[in-house]
Subunit: 183 residues, 2 copies
């Protein structure tokens, strides 16, 4: 439950600072005081908003998930044609510095979720929303699963090996996997 | 450089113990003494073989990579037909408890590799071997990338949400993505 003195903008700024920090140093080495410093705040101010590391991480995951859903909203519908849809999907892959940072955080979460049922639950709830969106767009469930798997697999590889995975290689791999699923 | 008193079987046993431990508790909480206890050894015996956590993790990653290459060797050639090839590929997804444990370790590595260039280098070297194998089998490079991305994406989702991702759902998603790539 939010405390009465909470300011949503302040929470959001701390979540963004956590995303920046995780993207550089990973989750394991993350310290609350580093995140606070990135947000020009004291550790005390940060812990007023978040009870601990896991709650801060959850807020960072939620922030990234909101961006992911906004990205899906920007993908054009079937009338735009397969290439425009592919371009729209490719825009959410780690093709630029901000997307690459979000993907690094994403991978860091997966790693931590291995040992955290709470993080896996949050992850499942987000993916359920994505599947529901794709099904509403006319994909059957297997095609929705396939599309998500293609994006996750390409994004993971490009995040692990950014120098060898420029945007063109990600787009070509995406097209090879996803074009047969498109109208 | 291996020390003169090294025994490969002992190293391998420690690596397997590390895989078991990471599969349960993740990497962050992993302690050398837990791994030693799982291998019925002292922490001193373990540190005789591995200089620290990262070296032990690297051995665990190598072990999983060897299993992954053995799995690829068991996938039949084009003469077997698309369904037999799909069955062979699906056998390496997290469809049973041992594969699921290896996948949990895999995700934990990705998470840690975000902040470790050495782990990313090891990862890249392994994936280069997989691509080379697929190209030798007749796939072009984009199809090889696509096949790897499909497996990684499906394996990740099934690892994060094992109850909702039985073997049949993994196999169906794999078929949807990979059948168009097969002869």
């Amino acid at each position: 439950m939010p405390r009465v003195t909470d300011h949503p903008e302040r929470r959001a700024a701390f979540a963004e600072a956590a995303i920046d920090a995780i993207g550089v140093q990973g989750i394991e080495a993350l310290r609350l005081r580093d995140v606070a410093a990135r947000a020009d705040a004291t550790t005390g101010a940060l812990t007023h908003y978040f009870d601990g590391k896991d709650e801060l991480l959850k807020a960072a995951l939620d922030t990234i998930m909101e961006r992911l859903l906004a990205w899906m909203d920007a993908v054009p519908g079937p009338e735009a044609g397969a290439e425009a849809i592919l371009d729209g999907i490719a825009a959410g892959l780690p093709v630029g510095p901000e997307e690459a940072r979000d993907w690094r955080v994403w991978l860091a979460f997966w790693g931590r979720a291995v040992a955290s049922e709470a993080l896996r639950d949050a992850h499942r709830a987000h993916y359920d929303r994505i599947v529901a969106r794709l099904v509403a767009d006319g994909f059957d469930e297997t095609s929705a699963d396939a599309l998500i798997a293609a994006v996750d697999g390409i994004g993971t590889r490009a995040t692990m090996d950014p120098e060898l995975w420029p945007a063109e290689r990600q787009r070509a791999t995406l097209a090879r996997l996803v074009r047969p699923l498109l109208p």
